[in-house]
Symmetry: C2
Subunit: 189 residues, 2 copies
DNA sequence: CCATAACGTGAATGGTGCTTCATGTTGTAT
DNA sequence: ATACAACATGAAGCACCATTCACGTTATGG
């Protein structure tokens, strides 16, 4: 299911280079960077990009999906800590804060966060990782509510709504302030 | 200061057509619509656009500034009602709600709202209108706080922060929910 | 070491978009 | 009514970008 044949050694190396270069370039210049620029940053020719990805859209989607994986890792890590006794609400706010910082430095992940809440016909590569995030965050929300730290009517959709609206283009102090303002409304009274 | 010479009759008519067409096209397709498309919608040739605006950027900026004017009108209207006895907090939330709806249908205004809070070296045409908005909303905030309906540490910058982060791409119900979540955190306890 | 399939290359193609300018048209002052 | 400045036109110039493909290169199994 994963691969009919293993990639040739140089092909694998180039694929990795392309992914990191694409990630860097998209992070720095947004998803509108040219394929030529990504190729140059990766040290390969344009044609090579098309040997690994059918078109630009798929390349960008792959980069976004990869960023998404680390987000899912973070969420699952939070849930793990919570199970071991860490306060659920603290894990939730910590997660939010980190996501905000990540997104602030990375427009590709911003697109990903947006896709999570809005574009429910996402790229196939995104489906699996979306359920991972959903599971982890859903667990955290339920625990925080059970512990009386989060208002009872708060839902997973609300969290996605927050993720999709976080002010990524603002300076760090403004971002922190934003989170603080929202949190006072979310705490159970 | 305003105009060295009055525009010729047909020139004024075309300028108006261009502005409305540009507004419509940008609203519908975003700021990346082609000049050709705007020209076609206005019923003029591309060259005419360049008779009225030095380049595309200036045309878009003019459209944004125009949208901004109606936003300023709304804010001042709110302040006027407040002075006549309407509760300041209600005016404030009403304003927010309307801005959210407007932005949801109009990416150009979204860009404007973003510019207000972030890009402080904005287009010259924006300077005057920015102070209008600042005056009106600042007054509303102070009144709402004096009336004990708004937490005392809320600032104008906080309001801009909210404006810049409102989830314009979300469906109406989600937008309302977002505002409700935020407001419970803003009300004075 | 060879044969060959996998891989990499980068100039060429076709498309789109912004901007300009030489030419034609029209409002308006006299 | 006339003349002229103001205005409108839209094809052409120029730059950029995604994608393709015919050909050269290289890893790898035998």
């Amino acid at each position: 299911m994963t691969s009919p044949r293993p990639l040739r050694a140089d092909a694998a190396r180039n694929r990795a280079r392309i992914m990191t270069a694409a990630h860097e370039q998209i992070t720095e210049h947004g998803p509108e960077v040219s394929m030529e620029q990504i190729a140059a940053a990766a040290g390969v020719a344009v044609g090579t990009l098309y040997k690994h990805f059918p078109n630009k859209n798929d390349l960008v989607a792959s980069v976004v999906a990869a960023s998404f994986e680390t987000l899912a890792d973070d969420a699952e890590e939070c849930l793990r800590r919570e199970v071991q006794g860490s306060p659920a609400m603290a894990e939730l706010t910590g997660f939010l804060s980190r996501v905000m910082d990540t997104v602030a430095r990375n427009r590709a992940v911003k697109a990903a966060a947006y896709a999570l809440s809005a574009d429910h016909t996402t790229h196939p590569a995104m489906q699996a990782v979306e359920t991972r995030v959903t599971q982890a965050l859903g667990g955290l929300i339920r625990s925080a509510q059970a512990q009386g730290a989060l208002r009872a009517d708060f839902t997973l959709d609300d969290l996605y709504l927050m993720l999709s609206s976080l002010p990524a283009d603002q300076p760090p102090t403004a971002r922190t302030r934003w989170l603080a303002l929202l949190l006072t409304g979310l705490t159970a009274r």
